[in-house]
Structure formats: C-alpha cells, structure tokens
C-alpha cells in the first residue's frame, strides 16, 4: 500500500517591533520576569488597547512579499479562554478579516525542482505570557513579559506532501521574514514557532485523512523528524485497523515522538467576536504603495539579478541569496574587488566553509566583506597568488589583521621582479638536469613539474605566469 502525506503548517512569527502589539511595553527577549508588562499587559480594569502601527506595516510587507491579497479592512476579534498566562481571559486575534489573505510562495527542493505552496492567510495576534513550572515548588510562576508581543500567524494550505517539503517551506518563510526584517526568526528563542497539521491518505484518494496537529516544534530539524514520526505513527495505526483521532499532539524532541495533548473533539469553544475596544483597521492603496516602496529586494528577485548582473550560475545565486545577510556580504565583496565570479567562489566555498566549521552565522564572520574583497583584489593585481591568498584568508580568520598587513608581515608578496625570478628559474634548471633533458626531448608534461619546483622554491610567492614564461624561454633557448 502506498500512502500520501498531507501537511499544512501554521507558523507563528514574532514581529520584531520595539513595543508590544497593543501596549507600549518593550519586547526584548530575556528580561527579568514581569519587568516588561504594563497596566494593559496585566489586564488591569479599565485599560484599553492601542494598536502599534508598525505591526500593520510589517504584516502588509509580508503580504506583499508572498503576492497575497491585502485586507483593506481587517478586524480584530477576541478569542476567549481561561489560562493564567492570558491575563485578559481572551487573546486579541483576527478571525474573519485578516490583514493578509491568500498568497503563495515557491519552494525549492534539493534536487532543484520547484513547487508553489499556497498560503491561506496570515493574521495578526498577540502572544500569551509564559507559565514557569520548574522554579516553583508546587506552584506555577507567571511571566507576562511576552504577553502582548505581536505575532503574525501564517497558515499554509495543505499543499505540502513530505517532511522535506515542509522544511523547504519553513526555510523559505524564514528567508522572507529575515529579508523583510520583520522578525529575527530565532526558532530556539521562540521567535518562529511551527505547528504542523499532518494526515495521511492512500495514494489517489481525493479526500483528506483525519489530521493531527503537532505543536511545539522549534527547529528545522525537528520539523522533519516530528512529521516523519507522526506520518509513521498514523500509517501504522491505520494499517493495524485503527483510526486517526483529530487531536493536538506535542512533539518531544528528546524522545523523538509525539504524544496526545488534548482532544480537539472536546475542544475549547473560543467564542470569537469582534474586539469592541478596537476599530477595524482600514488601509487604502496609497498605504499599500508606501509599504511596497520600502520593500527590500526579495530572495527570488535577488537571485535572478545575481544571475543577470553578476553572471553567476543559478545554483551559486541560490546559495548566495538564501540569506539576506549573506547576499549583502557577497555584494560588498563584489564592490570591493570588482570580480563577481571570484567573489562567489570565495564566499560560497571558503567563507561558508570557515563559518560552518566554526558554527557561526554570517553576521559573526571573523572576516569582513571588505577584507575578503581586498584579498581578491590582491589576487587580481598580482600581489599574491590564489594559493597564497588562502594563507592570508586563514590568517585574517585568526584575527591577524588586514590583507596588506598580513602580506607584509609574513612576506607573502608575490615575486614579480624579473631578476629574482630569473635566478630562481636558473636554479631549477641547474638542479633538475634529467627533467630538463626530458623536456627538451619533447616530453611536454615535465614542464608542469619544473614550474612546480620553481614555485616551491619561492615558497609559493613567485608569480606563476611569469615563472611559466621565463622557464619556457630559458628551456627553449638553452
């Protein structure tokens, strides 16, 4: 029996505003508990929400980035339930009239294939606080610092057909929100949280199977593992004659399993109704155009431009534009050195290799794009060879200084002085009589060996082009 997996993702993105969605409290991560909660966040009697306009701009910019319908009249609703970290007893969210309507984004799989994934909607809502169970014996602590932090909940269509596609979708979303600068996208700190609706059906069937919602997935890796585990569980269950129950399941990353949290069949009735303390948010075409005007170049457009403007391969362009900071790094390198192809190689091979090894992000790179650009410029102006450049690069990564400084200090400057090179070549000819003889008798392959000897003798500093030229002249004239 072959099974098909159907996945839809609900992604909560914490928007990177200075203050909360409906109050002036700051939103910094990691502050002392309850130091970032004001009278509204505490739900004191008589307090009222005032919307942070920056949240609207961010939501609209996301909508534009995924070619979505923008809600010109969005309405906030109250979602009612009791929980200690929800001080008002309701969460302000958007039900029927979200700010972002239907849109889509294109994901790329590892084999290079592309797929368009529908986005049903993205709505603005406030985050809840946190219940702290560990630090209090027999009691629960409440931290309301997070209460009221703006979230954008992005709901996908059930268009994803594998855990890998889900990860690709999530990575694409991550890339877009980072490009837009609307969130730090830090999954470990909860700035981006993912719930997955997973169901299976027999291949060829058109009806969806019963789905389970998996909550609490907080890394790309866990998304894949959690979904795969859940798919397996559901298939096993059905093949053993059971049926999948519609429920919420919690992913436990330590045990790599999902377990039932609460049954949605006896779920809360949230009793949504329009939030009377807020007016509908009405925006016009001018507002949308103004947001559009401030939009940065997005990954797909940047990728296409890197191909056309910098002459990169589509693959290289894809690698370099996956991350906005990486793309900006690359472009600074190009501006500094003037050679896009060399820059692409250095950034995607040497720099990425270095960062991966050190488990660092581009923002923490020990080598600045200006430094790398200068390094490439020194290759191009023949100050150093490509090989020596690797040495200089490693030294820069160790923090030994700027390019020219390192070349100077380590005496790595390429030898281009004809006199010095001539004596070098002479020495090679003298100390390798056999090979010289072989070359002269027509064995062209030996030439490479002799060049290598010259380079070795110069400790790599000799200009290889000049060595080539001189050596050939001397051998032919000898």
């Amino acid at each position: 029996m072959t099974w098909e997996t159907v996945i839809g993702l609900e992604v909560h993105v914490q928007l990177a505003t200075q203050s909360k969605l409906f109050s002036g409290s700051p939103t910094k991560f990691g502050a002392e508990p309850n130091t970032q909660a004001n009278i509204y966040d505490l739900a004191l009697p008589g307090t009222l929400p005032v919307m942070n306009k920056e949240v609207l701009r961010m939501a609209v910019s996301f909508g534009l980035a995924i070619d979505a319908e923008i809600g010109k009249r969005s309405v906030f609703d109250r979602k009612n339930y009791f929980y200690p970290d929800l001080p008002k007893g309701y969460q302000v969210s958007q039900l029927d009239f979200p700010t972002v309507g239907k849109g889509s984004l294109t994901i790329e799989m590892e084999d290079g294939t592309e797929k368009v994934i529908g986005v049903t909607r993205a709505h603005i809502e406030e985050d809840a606080g946190k219940s702290l169970h560990e630090d209090f014996q027999g009691m629960t602590g409440i931290d309301l610092n997070r209460a009221g932090t703006p979230l954008l909940e992005i709901v996908s269509e059930p268009d994803l057909r594998s855990a890998k596609e889900a990860v690709a979708y999530l990575k694409k979303l991550h890339s877009i929100i980072l490009y837009l600068g609307i969130s730090d996208g830090n999954m470990a700190q909860g700035s981006m949280r993912c719930d997955a609706n997973v169901s299976v059906r027999k291949k060829g069937e058109t009806e969806f199977g019963t789905r389970a919602e998996i909550k609490n997935i907080n890394s790309f890796r866990f998304v894949e593992k959690a979904i795969n585990h859940e798919v397996e569980r559901q298939i096993d269950l059905i093949e053993d004659g059971g049926r999948v129950v519609q429920e919420t399941r919690l992913y436990d990353s330590e045990l790599n399993e999902t377990r039932s949290m609460r049954s949605k069949e006896v779920a809360n009735d949230y009793r949504y109704f329009p939030e009377p303390d807020l007016l509908p948010v009405v925006i016009d075409d001018d507002y949308i155009a103004a947001v559009q005007a401030t939009m940065p170049e997005l990954p797909n457009a940047k990728r296409a431009r890197f191909v056309s403007e910098h002459g990169l391969s589509d693959y290289d362009a894809g690698v370099l534009t996956a991350d906005r900071a990486m793309a900006e790094y690359f472009e600074t390198v190009v501006t500094t050195c003037g050679d896009a192809k060399l820059a692409a190689n250095w950034v995607s091979v040497d720099l990425l290799g270095l960062l991966n090894k050190a488990d660092k992000g581009i923002a923490e790179s020990p080598v600045s794009p200006e430094q790398l650009g200068t390094l490439i410029a020194r290759i191009k102006d023949n100050t150093i060879s490509g090989k020596i450049a690797k040495t200089v690069f490693e030294a820069m990564a160790e923090g030994e200084g700027d390019v020219d400084q390192i070349i100077e200090n380590k005496g790595l400057k390429q030898v281009t002085d004809t006199g010095a090179l001539e004596s070098l070549v002479d020495e090679v000819i003298t100390s390798n009589p056999d090979q010289v003889e072989q070359f002269r008798s027509g064995k062209e392959q030996v030439f490479g060996y002799l060049v290598g000897q010259a380079m070795k003798l110069s400790k790599g500093k000799a200009n290889p082009g000049q060595v080539n030229k001189l050596l050939r002249e001397k051998l032919n004239n000898g």
Binding site: P84, K88, D269, D277, L278
Partner: protein
C-alpha cells in the same frame, strides 16, 4: 449653599462668599450626616478632598480659576483613581487600588474639581436600581424606601441630596439617564466615543459612555467641556476638534423641530408620565419649537438585542477577574480550576453571573449567528431608524423611564421586569447617540424626567434645548427634603 449649581458656586467662590475648602468641608459634613442612610458613597476621600480644595483656592487666588476650579465632585466607583479604592460595586474588586487614573478623572482634576469620593453603583454597572451593589442599595433621597435608579444610582442620589455639586456617571443602556429621572436631576450620555473610556471599568465596551450628572443643563455643559475630547489611550475615542458645549446654551428654540416617536407615545405609556411630557412639549412650543411624530419601527427590538450584545461583551470583559493578579481570591484554592471557579463564584454577585452566562451562551458555537450576529443586524436597523428620523427633526423627545422610582426590592425577583426599565433608553446606546434626561415634573412627590435624543455629536443642541427649558421652568431646582 450646597444646593447651588456649579455656575452659582463658581460665582460664590469668585465673590469670596466661600472658599473651596469651606465648601468641601460643608459637603463632607453633609456626607457624614446623610450617607449612612442614603449610602450614595462607597468611599469618601475627605483628606485628599481638602488638600485638592486648598490647591484650588490657591489657583483662584492667583487668578487662574476655571469654571470647575474648587467645585466638589463625586466619581462613580467605575472610574479608576490612584490611591483610592475602585470597587466597581463588586466584592471582586473590594481591595483594588488602581495604579493609574481614568482620563475622565484626570481631566476633571486638571480642571480643578475637588473629588469628594467614589459613589455606589450596581455591580459592574449591571442593574437599573442600584440594588446589585456589593456595598448595599442606595436610597432615593426623595423617598428612602425607593431606589435611585441605576447603575449610576450613587452619583444621582449624591447630586439630588446635595452630597456633591456634580458627579460622573456611565451609561451603557440608560445608567445615567434613568437615575437622573428617578432623582430629579439632569444627566447626559454623550455620543459614543465623545468621552474617553480609558480607566473606566468596562461593562459592554461598544455601548459604555461616561457623562455628567448635574443640577442643571448648564452644569452638564461645563462638565462636558472638561471631560470630552479625543484620547490616544482609547482607540474608540473620536478625533474631533475641541468643542465648547456652552456655546449654544443661549440660542433661541425658534424653529426647533422636535420629533415624538410614536413608539414612545403609544397606549402603553403611563398616563401620568404622558401628561407631564405633554406639559414639557407645550413649554418648548411656547419657545418656538414645533413637534411632529417620528417613527422608530425597530424600537421594540432594542431590549432583546441589547441583552445579547451587552452580556456578550461583558462575558469577555469580566474574564480578567480570575483571582490571579488582583482583586478577590478565594481562600486556599486546591488547584487552578478551583481558584478560577471559587474566586469568580464568590467574587461576583448574581446579576453579574447571570449576564456572564447569557453572554457566554450567546457567543457559543452554534448560537453565535442566531443571537450575537442577529443582534448586531438589529443594531444597524435601529441606527438607521434614528438616522431617518433626524432627517426631519433636530431632537427627539420622549420619556426616560416608564415611571417614577419604584420601591426597593419591588423588581428584584424577575430580571426581565428590571430589564424593561430601560425600554426607552437602550436604543440610544445601540445607536451610539447622545441622550439626556432632565426633570419635567413630579408624580406623587416623586420626580420624573423627559429624554432628549440628538443625532451623533448633537450634545450642544440637546444642552441648548434643556437649558432653555430650565430657564422657563423650575423642576430642576426642586430638592428632596432629606
């Protein structure tokens, strides 16, 4: 002296016939004497009042006094005030001291008014008789066996019994106008959004509006000048240019077109109330007004739709009272659910619980369309009825309440009887319009008011009509013997 209007007191202060401190002390003395029987105040803030009064006297001495400087005021206990209890008439907030003050309170303080204390009210403003208060019923100064109306019953009784010169109230379905009628004073519910709701404890957010309870329309206009105006802390407050509500008071009523809703003057109208209304109409006609019948065809749907919308909003607004962060908490909760259940069961009174239940039901899955959504549709129809009527008339006139103040306990047994108390006032809240009540006579020595309704932002015109009426009658000057 204590029965004087704000305008009269201000000139007495200007003429140095008295000082704010003396005046405040005199009111405090009267409160001490009469409040034990009338129970208009939950909290009296004597010390702060005298300090504020001294400050007001200094301001007056510097020649910087405004119309409200040094005038003693009472605030309904629904407005948050720093340093003083704000109970909202509930056991749930029996220990609540707000760290911030309501915009209305701040603005009146800035205008120099002296706060005497916080007045009694129906619990969370849910009631029409002031009998649902956790702090005991308020007695009507005209007859202490009777209710003062509600929910702003404490404020109305305090004004009528000269326990303050003016008071704040709130009106969600008639809570300023009905007690004004029962107590023989003037009360104004402004256009929704005219006065900031920031710091005013919410009952039904889309209907709640603060307004003045005073001894004259002129006083109400002066209070409106202080409290009205946009507030960035309330997203539903209207961004209108500042308005002088006293500017039109002296205008002639020549040519004024008064609409009489046929639904308000049906055969069901109490004949004694009808007679007094006819008398008031004659006064306005003698001042140049003309009257014509107007139709409010959906008026009969206002009470049922109100009792879906208001409880629905209340059910969410009151969720925050969970015993976790402030207010009443049950003793020794065994777990979270126990904490919620017992804190709320013990902290809320019956009427509040009834409305939370009704509201929760109305919003429940499967019932939402039949109740909440339908009620919202009716609300739009009611608004359209008024809009159509105001194409033909300037103001609408009718009864505020079906009758004079009833006896304590008389209507407690049947909530629906109590809900029908607001049959003439509720539509005004649903439509978001300004409405006021002013006394037009007495039945068996009990005062009764008429209601004037205006189009949105028509407060100044309402106050003008009321002021002109009061210049030609003396019902607003009648005081109970307490």
């Amino acid at each position: 002296m204590l029965s004087k209007t704000v305008t009269e007191l201000a000139s007495a202060l200007d003429r140095k016939e008295t000082s704010a401190v003396e005046l405040t002390q005199a009111f405090l003395d009267r409160i001490q004497q009469l409040n034990p029987s009338i129970n208009a105040y939950i909290t009296v803030t004597a010390e702060q009042a005298l300090a504020q009064a001294a400050k007001a006297d200094a301001i007056r001495a510097d020649g910087n006094a405004g119309p409200l400087t040094g005038i003693p005021i009472a605030h309904k206990d629904i407005f948050c005030t720093t340093d003083v209890l704000t109970t909202c008439g509930s056991k749930m907030l029996h220990n609540f001291i707000s760290p911030y003050s309501a915009t209305v309170v701040e603005r009146l303080e800035a205008a120099g008014a002296v706060m005497l204390g916080k007045t009694n009210m129906d619990e969370f403003a849910m009631g029409s008789s002031n009998e649902t208060s956790h702090y005991g019923a308020v007695r009507n100064p005209w007859d202490q066996e009777r209710v003062p109306g509600g929910s702003s019953g404490g404020s109305a009784a305090a004004v009528a019994a000269d326990l303050c010169a003016m008071a704040t109230g709130t009106d969600t379905g008639g809570s300023i106008r009905q007690p004004a009628s029962f107590c023989g004073i003037t009360g104004l519910k402004p256009t929704y959004g005219r006065v900031s709701r920031f710091g005013m404890i919410a009952f039904a957010s889309s209907l709640d509006q603060a307004g003045p309870l005073t001894k004259s329309a002129e006083d109400a206009a002066l209070m409106m000048n202080a409290i009205a105006g946009t507030d960035q802390r309330d997203s539903t407050s209207l961004d209108l240019p500042a308005e002088d509500f006293t500017a039109m008071l002296g205008d002639s009523l020549q040519g004024l077109k008064v609409g009489l809703p046929k639904q308000h003057f049906s055969k069901d109208l109490n004949p004694a109330v009808s007679d007094l209304l006819q008398g008031a109409i004659k006064v306005l006609e003698s001042l140049g007004a003309t009257v014509k019948e107007v139709d409010l065809p959906n008026n009969h749907l206002s009470v049922p739709s109100y009792y879906v919308i208001a409880p629905a909003e209340a059910s969410a607004n009151l969720s925050r009272y969970d015993g976790v962060r402030y207010g009443y908490r049950c003793e020794d909760p065994v777990n979270l659910e126990d904490l919620y259940k017992r804190s709320r069961s013990e902290g809320f009174g019956d009427e509040v619980k009834r409305r939370i239940l009704v509201g929760t039901y109305a919003l429940s899955a499967g019932y939402y369309d039949a109740y909440y959504k339908k009620a919202q549709k009716i609300r739009r129809l009611i608004k359209q009825d008024f809009d159509a009527a105001f194409e033909d008339v300037d103001v609408i006139l009718g009864p505020t309440s079906p009758h004079t103040a009833f006896k304590l306990g008389e209507k407690n047994s049947d909530p629906v009887t109590m809900y029908l108390e607001d049959i003439y006032t509720i539509a005004v809240n649903l439509a978001g319009l300004p409405g006021m009540s002013l006394p037009i006579g007495q039945i068996n020595n009990l005062p009764i008011g008429m209601q004037l309704i205006g189009p949105s932002f028509g407060e100044a015109r309402l106050l003008n009509v009321a002021h002109q009426y009061q210049l030609n009658t003396d019902w607003h000057q009648q005081r109970p013997e307490v």
